[in-house]
Subunit: 251 residues, 2 copies
């Protein structure tokens, strides 16, 4: 049984549940996989605030509690659709908490799965560009996971990050979070980031924030593979419980 | 905690989870309500086949097991986003199974909630038209629940049901299930049904199949209120745990 920590944040949880359905081969209801999800966002403190030192409570504790509830429910393979929860200072504590509780859960690491998928589908490349919020960029979540796998990880320059990319997600008038959908302005901003990453040498683009794929649904731009980590996590969860049910997907 | 039996069918479960989010007042992740969901469709046999006498195993047994798992997880108020699961021969068995197990779950009845919402928002009307699949129509799920509440329930004529409305959902070339989206043909077919129901005297329209709201997103057509039962169920679940969090919604 697949388990999903669906409250970090709630819309990212919904998005992952939808991708698990869309990536499963099923001709009727009964052929879909068993999935338990728990969305309990109130208990999980803000990840970015903790990573930036603005809050002291590690959200790992609440995430461990929720993972253990999913295990009680019968889940064996679990995922967390949240980039910042995969920062080592959070994720390592989650793994430790599970070990201390005697859990046998197989908790997938979304960002390591992205690295492995890149190695599978485009084995010749080693320079990847990441578009993300400031929090994910500053805390170096992608480099910390992907550099040990042999990747060089590129980010946009600080000025573009703060004035163009971050607002595409957070701006109160045109940002994806405020609008609940991808505005043309948000897409144009993010495509500027893609362009700068390509000029800097990126051979693939990772959409390192759950909102960005709403504005950039393409799987390729200018010959570069474009990766949605939630989609990769959905596929890794399916593969872990029943690889024969995985939808073929040409990149 | 809200609980959702999300596997009947899996896309209807996803739809209900999305509507619980969209109908909750929340300025940040932490303000969303706690929701546990279990999608275990393999265990739940086809509802329509059972209702039409083509299968003998009552899907109620599996649904009760899943409800009890949600209760163990901490759920107190639960819903099942499936019209056919609310047929008395299934729903009454579910209630009996919960009572036998000593459950304290508050299981909402989606179709009774639709009746109560109609009485709240348009108290002067008593003739409602229902658009649905053949299975829901033949098993009289809506009349059996709504007539005791004082409503006269209208359905389209058999010929229109089988040749126009049912294909809008099931046709392999233009049906919503096959296409995964609402085609223009599907919408045109369903609007013919709305028109016939209005001529027959309907004062409100119930979209009695989880696929239909994809093709008819309107809340009003020609002065009639249009009701999406999954939306009503989402709002009833929120009201049951925290009414202050319910988004205002003008009908």
């Amino acid at each position: 049984m697949i388990g999903v920590v669906a409250g970090v944040g709630p819309y990212a949880g919904l998005d992952l549940l939808g991708k698990i359905l869309s990536q499963t081969v099923a001709d009727k209801d009964q052929e879909h996989l068993t999935v338990a999800s728990l969305s309990q966002p109130e208990a999980i403190s803000d990840r970015t605030a903790f990573l930036l030192g603005e809050a002291t409570l590690n959200p790992a504790f609440a995430i461990v509690e929720q993972l253990l509830k999913l295990e009680q429910m019968g889940a064996s393979v679990v995922g967390i659709p949240c980039n910042t929860a995969h920062a080592p200072t959070i994720f390592d504590h989650i793994m430790q908490g599970l070990a201390n509780a005697g859990s046998e859960l197989n908790l997938l690491h979304m960002i390591a799965e992205v690295g492995r998928e890149l190695q599978r589908i485009v084995p010749t490349i080693n320079r990847v560009g990441v578009l993300s919020t400031i929090g994910t960029a500053v805390t170096r979540i992608y480099p910390l996971t992907l550099e040990p796998l042999g990747f060089e990880v590129l980010a946009v320059e600080d000025k573009l990050q703060s004035e163009v990319i971050h607002p595409a997600i957070y701006d109160p008038t045109y940002g994806i979070k405020a609008c609940g959908t991808a505005t043309r302005q948000a897409r144009e901003n993010l495509l500027l980031g893609v362009q700068q990453l390509q000029i800097a040498g990126a051979q693939a683009i990772i959409l390192g924030c759950t909102e960005i794929p709403l504005a950039i649904p393409e799987t390729h731009i200018d010959g570069m593979v474009v990766i949605d980590p939630a989609l990769i996590l959905a596929r890794a969860l399916i593969s872990a419980v029943d690889p024969d049910r995985l939808v073929d997907r040409p990149f």
